[in-house]
Symmetry: C2
Subunit: 254 residues, 2 copies
C-alpha cells in the first residue's frame, strides 16, 4: 500500500505536524481497524446526550459539526471538523458528555473502535501523547470560540472563523485564500451564534468591503490582512510548530 492512499494517512499527517512519531508508531496508527460510513448532509451520527460512545470518528471527506442544543432545540455548533480530523478522539478517554456530531455536508466517516485506540495508546505511550496533544489543539480552538461568541460583534466573529478555517484547511501551516467549505449560512449561523439572516447581512458587508466571499462550497479571501484585522485573528494558537525541535516528544523512543 502506498503512503498516500491509506485511509488514515491524513490523520498521521495531522499528528506528526505537532508530535514526533517513529515509523513503527505511525504504521501502528495506520493499522487501526476502521469501519467506513457514508453520510448525507444534515445527518446526525452521534446524538447529543448519548450515554456512552464506543467509537471515534475520523473524517475522510466532507464536513462535520460538533454541537450542543438547548431545550428548545436551538443548536450551537462548537467545532467544525474537516478531513484529517478525528472528530471525537477525546471520547476514547472520556466517552461521556461529548455533544452530538452531525454531517454538515455529504461526508464519509471512518469509525475507529475506542478499544483499538486504547490498546494503541497503552502500547505506544508516544502515540498517547500525540493524541493528547491533538485534543489540546481542539481545546485551544474551543477557547477561542468562547471569546468569539461571547465578546465580539457579528462581522468580527464571522471574519475570525473564516480566518481560522483558512489556516486549518492549509494544514495548519499556510494561509489559503481560497478553500472549499461546504457549510450553509444556516450552519455558519449556528457556529457563530447568530441568526441566518444576520449572518447573511454580515457576509454581505464583508463582501462589499472587499474582504472575503462566502458561498456554499467555497470561501475566497480577497484581503487577508484586513480580514484578519477585522476578525481580531492571531494565528499563534493554531499553527503547527514548523521548527522540528519544537515538536515535543515527552516519551522516550525505545
Amino acid at each position: 500500500m502506498s503512503r498516500s492512499d491509506h485511509d488514515l494517512q491524513l490523520f498521521v499527517d495531522r499528528l506528526t505536524a505537532r508530535s514526533v512519531l517513529t515509523v513503527e508508531e505511525q504504521q501502528a496508527i495506520l493499522a487501526l481497524p476502521t469501519h467506513r460510513t457514508e453520510l448525507r448532509a444534515k445527518q446526525d451520527f452521534v446524538h447529543d446526550g448519548d450515554e456512552e460512545v464506543t467509537h471515534s470518528s475520523f473524517i475522510a471527506s466532507g464536513l462535520v459539526g460538533r454541537f450542543g442544543q438547548t431545550v428548545t432545540g436551538a443548536r450551537q455548533i462548537t467545532a467544525f471538523h474537516i478531513p484529517g480530523d478525528m472528530a471525537d478522539l477525546h471520547s476514547a478517554v472520556r466517552p461521556v458528555g461529548v455533544g452530538g456530531l452531525t454531517a454538515l455536508y455529504d461526508t464519509t466517516i471512518l469509525h475507529v473502535p475506542h478499544a483499538a485506540i486504547r490498546r494503541l495508546a497503552a502500547h505506544y505511550p508516544a502515540v498517547a501523547e500525540a493524541f493528547w496533544r491533538d485534543c489540546m489543539l481542539d481545546a485551544a480552538i474551543l477557547m477561542q470560540w468562547v471569546v468569539n461568541v461571547g465578546r465580539r460583534d457579528a462581522r468580527t466573529r464571522i471574519a475570525h472563523i473564516l480566518c481560522e478555517m483558512s489556516i486549518r484547511f492549509g494544514g495548519d501551516r499556510q494561509i489559503l485564500l481560497d478553500y472549499p467549505f461546504f457549510a450553509t449560512q444556516d450552519q455558519l449561523a449556528d457556529a457563530v451564534a447568530l441568526t441566518n439572516v444576520h449572518v447573511n447581512r454580515s457576509l454581505k458587508a464583508l463582501r462589499t468591503e472587499g474582504l472575503a466571499t462566502f458561498r456554499h462550497g467555497a470561501v475566497e479571501i480577497h484581503d487577508w490582512k484586513k480580514l484578519a484585522e477585522v476578525g481580531e485573528f492571531d494565528s499563534a494558537y493554531l499553527v503547527a510548530d514548523t521548527a522540528p525541535e519544537r515538536q515535543k516528544r515527552l516519551i522516550g523512543t525505545a
Copy 2:
C-alpha cells in the same frame, strides 16, 4: 507527612475520581516539585498571548479565571478554576495559545515545571492518561460554555453556571446547595458574556423567584430542581464516574 496535608493531595484526589492510579503513581505525583506563589485578587499571572509557558499552575486555594480578550480589552473568562484544579495542565503538552490566567480572588498557586510533569508522564503512562482525561473534562465544560454563551438567555446562562459550580465544588460527586464562590458580579459577567448591569438584574430575578442567591463569597441554592430546569442543566457531562469499574485505565499496571 500525612495523607491530607500534602500540597498536591487535592490534585491526586481529583485525578483518582476518574482514573485508576497505583499508590506508586500517586506518590510520584505528590513528589512533584512545586513553587508557591501568593496572589491578590485581580492579579494576572499568565498573560494572554504569552509566547510559551513553562509551568502549570495548581490552585491550592482561592479562585482563578482563564480568559481571552478582544483588541478593545474586553475580557471573556473561559474557565473558572477552583482549589484542586491544575489550571493549565494542558500547557505541559502544548505550551502555546493558552490564554491568560488571573486570580479572581486572593489565591495561592503552586507552580509545577512542565519539565517535571513531562518526565512523570514519560515514566508513568497511566499518569499521562489521567492527565489527558483530566484535560478532557475541562474541554467538556468548555463546550458547554460555548452553548451557554451562544444560545441561552441571560437568566438561563447564569443559572447554568451556578449549577455547574455547585457540582464542581461538591467534588464532582454531589450537589452543594451552599458553596463558597469569590467571584464578583463583574467577573461573573465576563464569564457569561453579559454586562455587570444585566448580570445584576438577572441575579435579582433568580433571587426573587426563590431559586438562588449569589453574593461575593457564597452562593446559596434555594431550589435546585427549578434552578437546574431554568439553567437547562444536566450534570451528565460533569460528574465523576462513581462506579469503580468505569474509571478507565488504558495502560496496564506493568
